[in-house]
């Protein structure tokens, strides 16, 4: 088969680009450490959340130096706890579940975005480096009040944060 040199050139260039696309994704997954949200969180009886250690009382818990876990219940049409408060320069793992229908859990304007499925625990870890306020919203239609379903994530400056402060308000 007779292939023109130009054609060989752009076939090779196309292959190089595909390899480039794949390598950037590999770079993100390895060097940057980006993960997909998966089923690691395990399952749970969605009709008995009140009997579960984590979700009976939705809260934020400190589990290490600068490591926090937030046990979040997404239900029609609120997120508990609200707001979620943590200090800056911390690592926060969300455990989110739902007692009723499928909800979304999206920290608005960021890549932290997952589905919340009754019977499953959605686990996602993020790093919070800067103080600030984020909205949290439900992005899966969950009923008549879906459009009002929102929460807040407040990242306090490190020196202004007190553990347990989230119950004061």
């Amino acid at each position: 088969m007779n292939i023109h040199n130009y054609e060989k050139l752009w076939l090779v260039l196309a292959m190089v680009m595909i390899i480039g696309f794949i390598s950037t994704v590999v770079y993100g997954a390895t060097a940057v450490g980006i993960e997909m949200v998966n089923d690691e969180g395990g399952t749970i009886d969605s009709t008995a959340l009140e009997e579960d250690d984590r979700f009976a009382e939705p809260r934020v818990e400190q589990v290490g130096d600068n490591e926090y876990e937030a046990y979040v219940v997404a239900r029609q049409f609120i997120f508990e706890p609200d707001p979620i408060e943590v200090p800056a320069n911390s690592t926060l793992t969300f455990y989110v579940t739902s007692p009723d229908v499928i909800h979304g859990f999206e920290v608005v304007g960021t890549n932290a975005n997952a589905m919340v499925i009754p019977g499953e625990v959605t686990e996602l870890t993020v790093e919070l480096n800067e103080p600030g306020e984020y909205g949290i919203l439900c992005n899966e239609y969950c009923g008549g009040g879906h459009h009002t379903m929102e929460g807040k994530l407040i990242v306090h400056p490190e020196d202004e944060f007190e553990q347990g402060g989230e119950t004061d308000e």
């Binding site: 130009y6 050139l9 196309a14 480039g20 993100g28 450490g33 980006i34 920290v107 890549n111 993020v126």
Partner: protein, 52 residues
């Protein structure tokens, strides 16, 4: 294809589609720039990112 109006006949390798090559290079350039922007600026720059 050689009729009486044919001015010049050239073989397969003698015709160089320079315009096509230029278009493809421009197109590939745009794709590369857009990919870099989308992945490194829009995606990796969009903290909070799921890290575990």
């Amino acid at each position: 294809m050689s009729g009486e109006n044919t001015v010049r006949e050239i073989g397969h390798d003698e015709f160089d589609p320079n315009g096509t090559l230029a278009l493809i290079l421009i197109y590939f350039g745009i794709l590369t720039v857009m990919w870099v922007f989308m992945y490194f600026v829009e995606f990796l720059g969009n903290d909070l990112t799921v890290l575990a």
